[in-house]
Symmetry: D2
Subunit: 289 residues, 4 copies
């Protein structure tokens, strides 16, 4: 059995040929119970607009959409769009092939061998037909009594626990965490600040994610994790959560309405595009209460 | 109040400035009740692989994905993708701005005015945060006792009723219809045949869709509607369902596993990318039983 | 015969169905004589690097190139590139379909009718197989004794004449003018200034271009013409030179080495990509002395 | 000094850090003398139309151009294009970074190290500011008395010599060879045949290219070299000419008019787009007599 050097590791846990990582934590029972959280029939789109000036990892190209249209005033008119964009545009999810370290991807696969210009032959996004389950919103700025966390401010494991407790919500195996830092408010207020770094979880949250057997964690920022600057020197959450835990990160969420509604528990459906061999996908995660 | 010349019309029904069409038929109560259909916790991705040789409307460009990767054997490796594709690639949903006729879009908007190279300022896909509700699979070939319907074979309103009855399933306001013609089987068996036309609903189904107040209809073919050849001379379902009824069509579904499981009722979540001003979006519709 | 309202017009001059504009001024004799200017066998590429951070009209998307590569250590390795870019990227030439005014393109063609998402059916860049002839570099900052002209500084007809005289060079029918403003130096020194506007010719140069029967004019800035800000309120040179005179503009040139060499006369070859129905093309103009 | 294993090699000939290959054969004197070949002032564009259905290496994506246009009937109208294409689309030139073998590129550079998703750091197309010189058209089908060569028909060194002799043209150092096989006629007559393989030079032509110190060779087919099928098992001309000789290949030429005019000698200007780090470029080569 392959093992990561890191103590925090799920390598081999679901077989030496596993490519699904923490998706294995989601059982039909998880899904069935999570559906029971739908009480109001209120649905939230957690995606920001996917558009040229939308949020993106700063060095990447902007999303480019050009409409193709025709109009016969006596007959048909119609339109479609040519899209040119990065797979990690706007609100998106990272495949387990997105990040590797010291040559190895999740479950020990050789990144240099399995990822080429033609895509990933292991751990690609098409292993993720869907991520469905119980969503838990952790609204850190409300817990801390601030509008939003500040640049480089860490959210620790203790913060996660204290916030959950303040919201009177427990954490269960297979949960999908929605981490609100308030940073998406900064996007519309001060784009340069938004792109200069972010608040987010620090390394103390990694054992927390592992011990609670979280299936996925998303946040209202570029990369879930705290960064004093962009690009940062290291990305320990990407490195350890994606590579060692096989845990899914999804990013650039709009959690404002859920927070306003105190929608701490929800039924969540994340449906990536089934991009063969892709490293990730834009998504529109849906939370329902 | 604007009115379509066509007797089958929802123009003005939800206000003269409505851009959401049959999404208005989906109430929180619809969503709440539909969530109650989740009994097994089994989820189906209805998307086909999104890849270069995947299904597409024949004249359109193929989806192009190029992976961007880097690998420092002592440090980080990683990958993302450059995507070049049509908004209506593979499994996708049509916005109400996708089709218009005689100059007018759904609800009377002037297509020539509201759709430019920069997108649609009315009826675009970003009006569709999500389509959620009760899914009803109508498995026509199983009802008819054939492997798949044939090229140009029409599915009539009577077929829809008879199939529903044979499956012992009723049709309700706000339902999302999953029409199985078996045509996606032809895709892997005979690509040229798949692209030459398709079985699908004919015009007799339009009053049926209107009377039942269907919110959306998807199928396992290019365009939901019967076509003797591609491109056809007319697209009456696109013309009347999209333009006059403001009804959502979604296409190129994989319904094989649902049919095998006789999953006639399900909870469905369709989450288009929130493409500002877009004419449609690739999607990965999720059905849960 | 159609006529532009503008007194400065070549509409109809080369026939009511002409789409080539001032290319008609270039005769085999022009080309033959211009080739005689090759005395040193020294060639200049007038193109800037075509790359992500290269010069571009500010609102446009950046050029995106992603390399597709593969490497079998025992066999073939190889690479190609996926390009996503605007036709008017970096150093480029404008087709006569690039700009129109009050509904009409060069020679009276209806722009709204002849230009669609599928391209231009009149005046497109594929009418320009090549532009070849005598090049005349007018080095305005050297003539004025400055490093470069300043933001919003106009180059007048009188400046053009005085500069030509100072360089002891005459102007002939069919000439290709290379206008040096020095502004490309600003590109590397102060990108924000470069993008905020530019020095260039003003409207007084239009009769000069017409009277001298210039075939094309290029410059070391975004748009040949003086702009106090970008985007400007009007683009009189684009409007009148392209639309009324059918004159070719090419832009974002690197003229530094030619200026250093005082290469005032040269043999020039401009070879646009033969983009069917395109509005312009990136180019690498070559000047030879 | 690095050396290729192959006896036919220019590695090290122009220094161990050379990246220009046979461009080194082109001297100012070559250019000066070639310009003297301009006697009629007649120019030929050797590019085919660059368009969706134009010639391309069969597995590659089609060129995609979408026009972006706007039209204010009382003010400006205008258009530009979004281009999505492979760098080796239509008529194009191969950079020396296009092909390598057993890990090494021209002049011994390590292909696996120097070529990444971000481009080539050695031997890229931006080393080729221009290729200018004497063009020699070798019209093989006319020499052989056929309309066009046939699928898989080899052009040998003896054929090249005999054809040159029949045309009464000598071959000189730094020449640019235009090899006409007639295959581009097949493109419009039988696309499937055109894409199934091609006539072209065989390995016997390699010493010929080296002994004559040819600077570049282009042809009216996909790849200059004979191929019995596409893709072929080997590409010896690409392998040895590009990698070992550092020789430039350019492809998909339209040589019909030059052949009709018996324009055996010409002045040629090839001006690749100056794509930083690119593996090649679409081009519009110009020949002038």
């Amino acid at each position: 059995m392959s093992t990561s050097k890191n103590a925090l590791s799920n390598w081999g846990r679901w077989g030496s040929d596993d490519q699904r990582g923490t998706l294995n934590l989601i059982t039909p029972e998880n899904i069935r119970l999570a559906a029971g959280l739908v009480k109001n029939g209120k649905a939230y789109s957690l995606s920001v607009p996917l558009e040229q000036e939308g949020p993106r990892w700063p060095p990447r190209q902007k999303t480019w959409r050009v409409t193709i249209h025709s109009n016969d005033p006596q007959g048909f008119g119609g339109s479609g769009d040519a899209l040119m964009m990065h797979s990690h545009s706007g609100t998106h999810i990272d495949a387990l092939s997105h990040i590797w370290h010291e040559g190895q991807m999740y479950n020990g696969y050789d990144g240099g061998k399995h990822v080429t210009s033609f895509g990933a032959t292991r751990n690609s996004i098409d292993n993720v037909a869907h991520i469905i389950g119980r969503g838990v919103l952790l609204d850190i700025p409300t817990y801390k009594g601030v509008e939003h966390l500040s640049l480089g401010e860490a959210v620790t494991a203790a913060d996660l626990d204290a916030c959950a407790q303040s919201q009177n919500v427990d954490i269960r195996s297979g949960d999908i965490i929605l981490l609100r830092t308030g940073w998406m408010r900064v996007f519309s207020q001060d784009r340069a600040l938004f792109d200069s770094g972010e608040p987010g979880i620090d390394e103390s949250a990694l054992p927390w994610l592992r011990e609670h057997d979280i299936a996925a964690i998303g946040a209202d920022n570029h990369g879930v994790e705290v960064m004093g600057s962009i690009p940062p020197d290291d990305l320990p959450i990407h490195r350890i959560a994606i590579r060692d835990l096989g845990l899914y990160l999804f990013e650039n969420l709009d959690l404002e309405q859920m927070a306003a509604d105190k929608a701490y528990e929800s039924f969540i459906v994340i449906a990536p595009l089934r991009l063969t061999a892709g490293a990730g996908s834009p998504v529109n995660p849906i939370a329902i209460t």
